[in-house]
Symmetry: D2
Subunit: 345 residues, 4 copies
């Protein structure tokens, strides 16, 4: 059994880590930390866990955390992880960081998007945890920068096509829609029930922080500069993210070419499901799971390819992919703890 | 007082006509028809109206309807109106048809999208009821083809820019999101509560029937062939529609050019609101109203213009615009019956 | 035209007052105050009102407010109104207070439920603004303590039956369910979207502050001590409140007796609708309106009467009833500004 | 491994059985039947299951079903099971029926509530599958009448108190609230999205078919005739049921007496959780789980005890309890397949 610590356990991503890791056959949660709820039993903060999780939250201390675990999950706002990680790595623990702090190899991009980086020396060894794309690097990593939810939903459908040079990189538009849990548990008018319910709206149009993250990985995989237009929207539902991507083929392209490309990339991967029979993804079908469902259609009249990907923003978009990365790192089955049967509704 | 009949009063668009016209200072509802509920009081079908609407539904008969009204609103599935309208016009009543039957001047487009048209001879005189664009024609019309909800949300932001030649017509993508009421009151698994709630999904990708309707009007106003990529999605909420449009400028274009173009087109029109201060539309802000809120942003990095429009699909997208058209036709204030103060939430 | 000020205009009840009074034919809003948004245009705080409400919020000052209005609506947390009201009354303005500060004639009950009362001398003249029950007193009032939302939904169905002595006062149970807007716009985990959505729960069971308010009025109208068991619950929806009341008849009682009692009490009153044909209330049917829908059924097997009342918590439960009270006070039609046609959905 | 058949697999309760049994360590699903979807792969009917459930639906035939399984779950509308069960039992298979057909020992009560019973001879041996109360009988049963969702939420909190004679049986009122999935997948206006969303309402007040079921078990356990007043309501959410019960103590009763009674009844049972620290149940905390959370408060002023129970109507209220019963019948751990960690939201 690998012993795991969840730092920042009482935010939504942290609680989702608790859920998944509690049922993980190869992992044991040994430490939960929470600044706000230090000293409080986790099941009092989230009564859903009563009878299943019998740990109290504690304040973070590198020493106390690292003494009792092998892997540290950080579910904290960006800027905190970069101050914690050097110490944890020095204690020879593996780190999976769900913030943006270790997602960029290029500190300049991070700094122009977030703020000054205080642990730049680690960026070279940090591995971007897009499980299906960087599996080999993840196997040997000690520090994972776990992808953002929006980038996960954009990159999984785009990367295989860009790797093969099938799309015109100048044509890319990603129109994303996210459930409200993506905004986290911190109080904000934007997450206040009556402001969100019966409301649909875009936000941070073309200026969202996940945009540079997408561009960096798209460019790396396309082996040329790629800049995608990205617009996120907020959907009145708790969980789920769906991204619709518009792209112009860069070569002559038929349905079968796209199918074949996806099959080559993903048919051996347990968590990417290609929608069959012209079906398209629906967030309800991936709710609570680590799946990324991908479908596509051609708009023949306009020679435009339309890709659709759906994930649960808290699972494949955060905690689930983090656990998938841990599984790859520790060498157990990639699906361990992640194959709960989905809800039909 | 103009006497109005609502044919198909118990569907959602019909009931919304009842709501708006009940409070209209210049109109009096004299006839409500419903095949399913003939003989039943309207307020039994929709108890919300108890104490306010004291009419019973009746079966449709051209004679009985036309004897008692000046204007006929048809809120029926397509194919029925084309069989009713010749008779109504022969009785010298004005018709506002909310179906697709009289939206196309070109019968061939209608027939390739829907089915054979049995009243083609009327298509030349039918006016497309996009109130802000075809005001002058509407004034003198006797037959209005009221626009679809999706086309309304796509055309109002695009037409002024295309009229001025500011956009590359080959670049247009419209990603639309609609509340569930757009699917109407007919029972269907796709509108079954548990299948929609906590779900977000695309449907009829690049094959929706509203796509040719958009293309026809965009082409007419751009004075060249325009074909837009259109993808509708379903949002778990009752009312509201938001469309995000991606377009590449056809000329050098700055924020101010777009603002000026919209101001020229709409500043004198009561129901199009341009979002100020970089704010973007939210369906909640137009809920229950006839407003179309329009905002925009440039994605400078990719030289792409992003337009966002929000409407209430049942009001500006159906019944409200129909009443606005009636107002224009009968020469009363364009806003009569349509200026109820919006709900803050 | 009566000039009105809304103090605390940017909370949900305040914004609802703005909505209703903006469309009121006999009233003109002259002042909006907001501590948090002083200096900001109201339509920036609530963009729904763009183009319709052209006032900026200002800080509260008795002098500046009273100089420009005839009636002051206070939509503030309790405890603030009692410090403002003496000064406003001294300036000979009428006051309608939506907080609890002037709902009790007996200061002791107020003080045991809330906190020390600093304007006790006004309690004797304050009128409890349950419009249908205290119409005559409201006509001549200068200070209205506007009822709470829960009490409104409990008292309207119970008062006529208790006045006639038809129920056993020891048998009363009120099980209430409220939409989330009742909790207001202040940020709180209990109103955070993901904590409320897909959740149903009771809160403040048998200890809610509205319980003593109900008891006081029930006792007054029954002319004996009445103490009701009251349990509120939170429903995942924005607007609406439904109360189910269980009562044992105190006398032999048939359906017709209950109907007759309600008819006698309410048939001349525009905002109480008795559900006909065995139909029972649904919050959707009163959404956005000032109606209180009342229905009932006997559980014959257990000799228990079940009463059901539905209101919109923000309208009949707050701002709408406040305006109804103003209408009664200023002698205009009781329904002025309040008869917008309801939404069918 | 026990081989199980799910008859009626494509309704909501059937699909929930598929979900739970797919992940069950001791069971293997060998047959899925569906009249409507015979010949269709289950994962096409419910795409959420793609990659996890690889069976096609087939038409029902006693022979073909029984040849391949040991236990038959029937998730069908009432009246069908009574025609299937004799044949299945004759083939020596165990049956767990989720309909009402085998919930009553007294055919007269069934017949006055539903319709004529065609397999009355089996009622004596059928065991009411309220797992925590009839564990011993379930162990040896071959035919289980699985409880209704409402009765489960009413009986679990009431039975221990009635068994001990702590409550006045004439005082009982159950006010229940259910998510929409309880109405099943069959199309109906009452489950049409726009009719349910933003709506809260009671239905079948004091005449619901689950009322006699409750009375029968309450009477059996109280050892005297008990008749409870029961009012169900519909909540705009997919899953979850919460029941608030009002009861007058029949003896002198303190908090500790109630706690002790529940502790004695349930502390060794894995799926009933008593809410600690004055917390009360919330449907969100049991979503997707087999838990029944129970809490209580006294209304001291009125000497009334308020009990609150929350379940997931599709799990503990249907499929989960059915699997729990199977576990008890086949002698494996009662929690097998049912201890997935709950979602925090």
């Amino acid at each position: 059994m690998v012993r795991v610590a969840i730092v920042g356990a009482t935010g939504y991503a942290g609680a989702e880590l608790v859920r998944i890791l509690s049922g993980h056959p190869e992992a044991e949660i040994t430490v939960l930390t929470s600044r706000q709820f230090a000293g409080v039993r986790f099941a009092e903060v989230y009564p859903a866990f009563a009878g299943q999780v019998d740990l109290a939250c504690e304040a973070y201390s590198a020493e106390r955390v690292c003494d009792r675990c092998d892997v540290v999950f950080l579910a904290l706002p960006h800027q905190l992880p970069m101050s914690f990680v050097p110490d944890i790595l020095a204690r020879e623990k593996k780190v999976i960081d769900l913030s943006a702090d270790f997602r960029f190899n290029d500190a300049a991009i991070y700094e122009s998007t977030y703020q000054a980086h205080t642990a730049k020396e680690l960026l070279a060894e940090a591995v971007y945890g897009l499980s299906e794309v960087y599996t080999d690097q993840i196997k040997n990593a000690t520090l994972i920068g776990n992808p953002g939810c929006y980038p996960t939903s954009v990159l999984l459908p785009l990367v295989p096509l860009l790797q093969k040079g099938l799309l015109d990189p100048a044509s890319l538009v990603a129109d994303s829609k996210s459930g409200v849990s993506g905004a986290g548990r911190s109080l904000a008018l934007a997450s206040h029930y009556c402001e969100v319910n019966e409301s649909f709206k875009p936000y941070k149009v073309a200026v969202h922080r996940h945009n540079p993250e997408m561009d960096a990985i798209l460019s790396r995989e396309a082996q040329k500069a790629v800049s995608i237009t990205f617009v996120p929207h907020l959907v009145p539902m708790t969980r789920g993210m769906l991204t619709t991507i518009y792209a112009t083929p860069g070569v002559d392209l038929a349905d079968k070419d796209v199918s074949d490309c996806y099959t080559a990339a993903y048919s051996q991967r347990p968590f990417v499901r290609l929608c069959a029979n012209g079906r398209l993804p629906d967030t309800l079908h991936v709710r609570g799971t680590n799946y990324c469902d991908i479908g596509f259609k051609f708009d023949q009249r306009n020679n435009r390819l339309i890709l659709v990907a759906a994930i649960d923003n808290l699972v494949k978009g955060a905690a689930g992919q983090a656990v998938q990365n841990m599984n790859i790192m520790i060498g157990c089955d990639e699906t361990a703890g992640l194959l709960n049967v989905p809800y039909p509704l």
